[in-house]
């Protein structure tokens, strides 16, 4: 889960002694904001969004003319950045920047270890820095991390500013400790600046990108609240789906991401769902959602997610698709849960009779489960085909495409 910058400043930087600019965060230009602006000779105002590259979108502004500060604040606190609405704005003191470094800590799958990444050429996106100017220190033993190791690393890479060697090594260890102890998957400071304060040079973390491990020992959503990953608020259907798994650990059916298409997906298993969704897209089907049902959920969970998936307006086809389950019962999920959802929706007049269906599934009790679903199709006048694993899983979306073209004149997307 990604944190807003002010959350990282308040809850992580303070605790781990990572020096940050003076700041105030607010949703509207309240007294605190006005006082702050009054006191500082110049300020930096930033939109509070989770999306990156704010500067390029004009959502970070330096304001030295105080008469403009409040109107800039109002604009940045409410504007949309790459489609994501700001939740407020952060006002910071403007630093007298001498140098900009890049610093991050993340897990390197190459080394299967935490990696401290540093460059003297910060301030721009990491992708834009010449790779030969980026250096990595791998933490091979997480039981012991000391500043001397970092100084050795900095000397080896030819770090140029001797005066900063000790303070920088100590700061990097603090950042590493923050990463480790708060269970981050990424902590990025770009830029980490050398600022002139009076006659002294001081290191200041002028940004904070923090991604917390969703599986951390204390779930970040408990502390910071649940947060969608799409850079938009959750839709009603997405919120309803989350509730399915709450307080009931038997299997999972509550993952649902809403998209703009017209083909509903009821897909099973992480890997199976991914390859099915992807093949559907490659085949030019406009998918209406992503989902990932698995772990042998009870019929009522399947019932609920099926109703949510089918409630999206404008659907033209449905793909029910999973591999060969090891655990999930096909009679329970498809024969009972899905079939009851269809029976009830039909009775309530909520089932579109023109939908084209393709079902492909195997696993425990699949013979019985697919037969039960077929009987449900017959009694409700549902049009489609049902396959077991004789049809390779990723041929199912392709088969649906053929049927949609043949029966309802569906026009698949042309992909470039």
């Amino acid at each position: 889960m990604k944190l807003y910058e002010h959350e990282a400043l308040e809850s992580i930087y303070r605790k781990f002694h990572i020096p940050a600019p003076k700041f105030v965060f607010a949703t509207e230009p309240n007294d605190k904001v006005r006082e702050f602006i009054e006191k500082e000779p110049a300020v930096v105002i930033k939109s509070m969004v989770l999306v990156g590259k704010r500067g390029k979108a004009g959502a970070v502004k330096v304001v030295s003319d105080k008469s403009h500060a409040i109107s800039v604040f109002k604009d940045l606190a409410t504007r949309e950045v790459y489609g994501e609405k700001s939740i407020g704005a952060l006002v910071e003191e403007k630093l007298n920047i001498q140098k900009e470094y890049y610093l991050s800590v993340t897990y390197s799958t190459k080394d299967r270890a935490p990696a401290i990444i540093f460059s003297e050429h910060g301030g721009m996106d990491i992708e834009e820095i010449n790779p030969s100017l980026i250096f990595t220190h791998v933490v091979k033993d997480v039981r012991s991390v000391y500043p001397y190791q970092i100084r050795k690393f900095l000397v080896e890479i030819g770090f140029s500013d001797k005066e900063m060697l000790r303070p920088l090594s100590e700061l990097i260890v603090n950042v590493y400790r923050a990463f480790w102890e708060t269970e981050c998957r990424l902590l990025e400071i770009n830029p980490l600046v050398v600022a002139q304060v009076g006659d002294k040079k001081k290191l200041v973390a002028a940004d904070a990108v923090v991604l917390l491990d969703d599986d951390a020992s204390i779930s970040p959503s408990v502390r910071y609240g649940a947060r969608g990953g799409m850079g938009r608020p959750l839709t009603q259907r997405e919120q309803d789906a989350i509730l399915i798994d709450q307080g009931d650990h038997r299997g999972k059916a509550g993952s649902y991401v809403e998209l703009e298409g017209d083909i509903a997906l009821m897909t099973f298993g992480g890997g199976g769902s991914t390859v099915t969704a992807e093949t559907a897209i490659e085949a030019g089907l406009r998918i209406a959602n992503l989902t990932d049902i698995g772990g042998n959920p009870p019929a009522e969970k399947m019932y609920k997610i099926a109703r949510i998936i089918l409630s999206k307006p404008g659907l033209k086809g449905v793909l029910v698709c999973g591999g060969t389950a090891s655990n999930t019962r096909i009679d329970v999920t498809l024969g009972e849960g899905l079939a009851k959802a269809l029976d009830d929706m039909k009775a309530e007049g909520k089932l579109d009779p023109n939908l084209i269906w393709v079902v492909r599934r195997s696993g425990p009790e699949y013979v019985k489960g697919l037969k039960m679903l077929h009987e449900c199709f017959v009694r409700n006048g549902i049009k489609g085909e049902i396959y077991d694993s004789q049809l390779p899983i990723t041929e199912a979306p392709i088969r649906l495409r053929e049927l949609m073209i043949k029966y309802i004149g569906y026009k698949p997307e042309e992909l470039g």
Binding site: E183, L211, F268, L290, G322, N327, Y407
Partner: protein, 328 residues
């Protein structure tokens, strides 16, 4: 010795967290399919009870000291909740177990890192987290892989299937079985960010195993484990045919950071893209027998074109008819 290091004729399993819902189900099924492969279970507080068909102990130490079965235990199957996994792994490593499977999903990354570093220090083999287990048809199975009736998907043959996705491991074995190829070893390595056993680890382990006729590799976006396999192949360490499919190209059409599937399956700051992995494997394939399937089901033609011999006859027909149709 029959079977690879992951699962062979000497394998004797202790299940940690044995009396839980999933673990007790797996023990019950395994006892029917491969009687005797599971030696014991460990659940603190349940030692000495008759809940399971295998003896249950309070601690691993008690299990390995048991005069009857203790010396036959060499492999641990871990089913405890995420925050207890590190503890369970340390208990097993300290108890002298050298092969461990972590079935648990959602292990904190930090704990995974500590586990990995301990594994390296002690020279143990750990598969997972988020593994579904291992299947070696000629020997047996570890974990739930294949369910109650694994014969749907598994028949002895020459393929090694390595997959981050547990479900796709079985689905792939079944797809190949229908087309005439059996499995030598199917290993679900899990999709965690810090993976204790990677594709490259498996390829290195099995490079000289004469039972291996070809490898099917199923990859995902995120991390660099697929690239590491490509490097290993290109360096000539692994020389046998490899067919690969990398899922998740569609993620690249979505906003960065959209989490779908495994914890490790996330593209961050432009790193770990499916298309980059495909390109890297294609590069390895210039001089080595590597084929990339565009669609997942094209893995079969990839293995065929690499000249991997069939283990038995193709049982499919040209055009698959639906089981049921309500059209027309």
């Amino acid at each position: 010795m029959k079977g690879p290091v992951y699962l062979n004729e000497k394998t004797g399993i202790v299940v940690i967290g044995a009396t839980g819902r999933e673990a007790s189900q797996v023990i019950k099924e395994s006892e029917v399919l491969y009687p005797g492969i599971i030696k014991a279970g460990v659940t603190p507080g349940k030692g000495g009870t008759n809940e399971l068909s295998v003896p249950v102990f309070d601690t691993l130490s008690d299990a390995v000291k048991d005069p009857k079965i203790g010396s036959s235990i060499n492999t641990a199957l871990i089913y405890v909740p995420p925050v207890s996994v590190l503890d369970a792994v340390m208990e097993c490593l300290d108890g002298g177990i050298k092969v461990l499977y972590i079935i648990t999903e959602h292990v904190p990354i930090r704990d995974s890192e500590i586990i990995y570093q301990e594994k390296v220090r002690r020279g143990a083999v750990i598969i997972g987290g988020t593994s579904l287990g291992c299947f070696v048809p000629s020997v047996g199975r570890i974990g739930a892989i294949g369910g109650k009736d694994p014969s749907i998907a598994f028949k002895a043959g020459g393929l090694v299937i390595i997959s981050k996705s547990g479900g796709l491991t079985v689905t792939t074995a079944e797809m190949f079985k229908r087309r005439g190829w059996g499995t030598y070893c199917a290993l679900a390595i899990g999709g965690d960010i810090i993976s204790n056993t990677t594709y490259a680890d498996v390829l290195t382990e099995l490079k000289d195993d004469p039972n291996v006729k070809g490898v099917v590799m199923l990859g995902e976006p995120g991390g660099s484990y697929e690239e590491q396999a490509a490097e290993l192949i290109q360096a000539g360490v692994f020389k046998k045919p490899v067919a690969a499919f990398i899922s998740g190209r569609f993620q690249e059409r979505m906003p960065e950071g959209v989490a779908f599937g495994h914890a490790g399956a996330i593209v961050e700051r432009g790193m770990g893209k499916a298309t980059d992995k495909i390109a890297r494997l294609e590069k390895a394939g210039k001089k080595s027998p590597v084929k990339i399937a565009f669609y997942y089901h094209e893995l079969v033609t990839a293995i065929e074109s690499l000249g991997v011999p069939r283990d038995f006859e193709d049982s499919t027909t040209e055009y698959v008819k639906p089981l049921y149709s309500t059209l027309n």
